[in-house]
Symmetry: D2
Subunit: 352 residues, 4 copies
């Protein structure tokens, strides 16, 4: 019963096969190989325009280097106060940008809203050497709280972002889950809605390590090769990261895998509605669920070997919040390899 | 006829199989999993002592973060003037150490000698805030010029290094080739000879991405987890990098692969002795060969599709140097997957 | 009528005389001179213990390097959300610490409270490589909003800080105003109350450039000389910065100057109580006053040549807040050279 | 008998007077004041064109921030192997540029020559993400060895620099001594000869702290204000650094002071020619002299209280080198305040 994180999952057969198929022969190192060109072409096709793609080892690297490519000294970057780049990357975005300031914005369910972004930017005022200069906005899709931005919401934020002359970045560590659930095209959810830079990651949906920076206007990508190499993030045998992208994007496998993870989350969600004393902090929209459970239920689940994290409620606002003394909020994450049996077993234990 | 670099090679079946075998089930993310513990135990066994191991994506990351873990502000690190950390990593070691200065030392065939290191350290003098403070020595094994340090030579450098209170780092991107050729134990070639930190990489010998920092005294490793994560170098699905280490270290496969690459280099070396107009800049000791060839021979090889790099002779000293106007020095690198046929074909074209 | 900032003021005669007196002869450069030793001895005497002092050019440098000396990779530093280090130093503290995260804490009138600090630290939890590690707490004395921490309040914050194993830093850009107003000894307001590191600045109270880092336990100061020089902050002719410290500390001049500035602020405060439509956002405690005035009054003052800044009320809580549509909150700062005539003239114009 | 360094000297009366004259009244902080505008206008007049000037606390800051303004990730900067930026700034240029690599070039008497620069750039080759990209050239005027570049030599280096698309920086910590001795205009020695960026320092010639970055094409200066503030190098009371520049530049005082220092060096040089056993490593050209003296003579001078530094001869080439076992090379530096009596006293002791 593994619901701790989707990065506890392994990889589907297609990825193993693709890695094996890439194993033979010689190929130019450092990304100047056919397999990498092919993966980039696939990503361009996926997004319905020619894009520049930079493959890196981790999502933290993708986020940090994407931001580094647009943040001059004194830069301020605006994001949700609970964004992964703020809370979970050991300050990598601060470090790799030379000290860009991450200005956290409050917002329900892990999302910032165009209105509060506009108000924050308004208060920040024009650039000066003391408070610095507004530079970029970053949102996470799906958010850290398992919620989604619709294309309309993305476009509203983009409107504010671009009206102030800023760059718009999307952390897409769970982009697959968002696309799968919203049923829109990757293009509609990104550049057509105004996104300039995407951290496009497939690790959580089924790669072993397949993260990238997608730059929708390739003319704005000139510095990233140097930023990437200077941070030690250029793979020599690039064909193996490319192979993972290619295998997962082929015939929409990445979305099939995401749909399965989402479906398992939905099954879990429905089941939780019948668990005594359980309620959802808010309605899940992708593959992360935040139920509030009696302490005894949580203990029973742990005793039965279920794996998940307790989640702090600090600063959060949800339909079912606050959490009371005899309750705990937990986070449940489903993956491409989560089974219905595993979900049902969890629910059975939870029901007591 | 691929002799451009050993990182143009792919991976052997054992690696593909290991990656596939690791694909199923759930495992704790970020290195706290059984497979990673097992790989670290194997590395400890290999080195005949308990070591701390930090897995990273690239050799540049391993070198840079290893040095970052021992370099305070104002640090000076001593290495060969042609060391990879100086010339080929886009300043990553400078950047990720907060500006440590790399002091290049001259030395024949890519090697620094204990005597010249001692003289350099002597001239540097005691720490002050102007010229900074001597901090570490880094050597590459096998060197960038395909030569080797014997355990005795390593120990001599270690003696000077430790007499000055410095840390001794070894860049082991081709450590396998060195161990295979020297026929000594990994322990004898590292910590028993005084090495404190090893960038232990298996990518060039057959992994797709398997690099690591090995800290021989685990008590000195406390900062590396944070340095690694802050630079975006902590893999979430660590089991897949661990699987590569495990597969290659099992039953000495890494050394078999290195021995094969070395043997192909030896075959190439012997054949070159009969090629008209060819001579070796110096005797190869591992899997890199630096022949000086007539320009016409080089052109003929290129026309026949052979892949290799021309190599600048600036600052180099070899038995057969200098290179004259109608000659070119090239670098030939053999890999685990280089075949005797490929070698013989190359020699046949070279012979004209 | 200059009330824009105390750093718009010049210097008193004593500072000019001291600089002139230091002009002759030769002295060892880079701080190894008698004048610098004498200034450090004065500061030790002032604080009633032997301290280590590092002189730097600016308050931003003092704050940033003080924090840099205690923040390892992944560090989190806790401070008021409106702290100068967060909002007004162009990200210098982020940059010079290698990306330390500044966690802003809310608090009335620019002050953090021990209770909310404790709650924030509790939620942060034990160190890990994702969210990083709690490292330091920084408060500003006097605060950016012209309020003061009493020794008891400082001690309460220190208690929480040290209970979590953190370092306690105080930004003392207006430390003189605080000491003068509170009537306590510098020792009681700092290390006896638990402060570990003080940015001790005399520029705002009357030097032209006299900022320093005071380390109360000199054993913890070993890295600062290198941090300072690596950032380009070591003056060669150190005697001239030392001379300013010496002149201002001699016979308590710095406190006399601060008392004058505070007295002018009190005169201004009292006068404002009679200005029609004026009220104070909160009671001033040092040399900064935040009145809320009718828009027409502000315009009249500006027309009369008064210099001051309008001040945003975002996130602020004061007795007289909120500010209404026809009002503006401004900031008035008095200096050692502010005259009673200037104050009275301002009040006369304000009264209309 | 102080010949240790020109930064052991104090300041002339004109500087003390100017600081005193600037003491009164209020002025806008952070460089937006009339005195700073006036100093910048003087510097523009001095250089016979409109320039952008950025005032900073130290020469290391000026050099590092000047280079930081032109060095992207992976940058290589070319300079003499004994340049101050390489050997004496605690890695500040490496740190503040985010790891720019300083490539040391050999050259007699502390000077690089256009030919060897061209050869070095040729070997470096076109930009790639491994070895990085050539970005800037930096020379020191006067050099660290007391020699000078003529305008013709500067222009030759500029020609090579610009032919490769690089920026040309001059470290002018002793620019005054160079201008005074060469008898050319500041414009002819800098931008008219192709210099793009000048670290223009007056501290060594007589200020207490007056360093600056002069950008000859103000359009290329846009990032420096942010770089400066992010590094903590923006003085609040800028008028006091400006006042020093103004006082020293007025009526050519800076050159008078430099001429005096140079004359004292010439007197010392002439005198040394008659000292038994003494010879000059090379002919001094500004205010630094490198005599080779019998060990006994050096001991006698030290016993008499003379202050100077012994100087390593490593890598140096001079008319009188090498230094033999019973000799020592020392460095003697004269300052604006060095007296003829002091020089003669030194010579008398040296003569024995």
């Amino acid at each position: 019963m593994h619901f701790a994180s989707d990065n506890w999952a392994g990889v589907p057969d297609a990825v193993s096969s693709a890695l094996a198929a890439a194993a033979g022969g010689f190929a130019t190192a450092y990304g100047d190989d056919e397999a990498t060109a092919a993966a980039t072409a696939q990503i361009s096709a996926l997004f319905e325009r020619e894009v520049a793609v930079f493959y890196v080892a981790t999502g933290s690297a993708a986020n940090s280097l994407a931001l580094a490519s647009v943040t001059p000294p004194g830069a301020a970057v605006f994001c949700h106060e609970a964004a992964h780049i703020v809370t979970d990357e050991c300050n990598a975005p601060l470090y790799l940008t030379g000290g860009a300031r991450l200005v956290g914005i409050q917002g329900d369910r892990g999302k910032i809203h165009a209105g509060s972004l506009a108000a924050t930017l308004e208060r920040f005022g024009p650039a000066n050497v003391h408070h610095g200069r507004v530079t970029a906005v970053s949102i996470t899709q799906a958010t850290e709280l398992g919620t989604l931005y619709t294309p309309t919401e993305v476009a509203a934020i983009a409107g504010v972002t671009h009206a102030h002359g800023l760059t718009f970045h999307m952390d897409g560590a769970r982009f697959a889950n968002a696309v799968a659930r919203l049923g829109v095209s990757p293009a509609d959810l990104t550049w057509r809605a105004g996104v300039d830079l995407l951290s496009f990651g497939l690790t959580k949906v089924g790669a072993w390590a397949a993260e990238s920076i997608v730059v929708f206007d390739p003319d704005r990508a000139a510095e990233i090769p140097y930023l990437r190499k200077r941070a030690g993030h250029l793979f020599s045998k690039s064909r193996f990261i490319s192979a993972q992208f290619s295998a997962l994007l082929k015939d929409g496998l990445w979305l099939d895998l995401a749909r399965h993870a989402n479906a398992m989350a939905a099954r879990l969600t429905e089941g939780l509605r019948s668990v005594p004393g359980a309620r959802l902090a808010w309605e899940p929209e992708a593959n992360e669920i935040f139920p509030i459970l009696p302490v005894a239920t949580v203990a029973r689940l742990e005793a039965a070997g279920a794996r998940f994290y307790e989640w702090g409620t600090d600063g959060l606002h949800g339909d079912a919040l606050p959490v009371h003394g005899k309750e705990t909020m937990i986070r449940l994450v489903t993956a491409f390899s989560t089974t219905a049996e595993e979900v049902d077993q969890f629910l059975a234990v939870a029901a007591g």
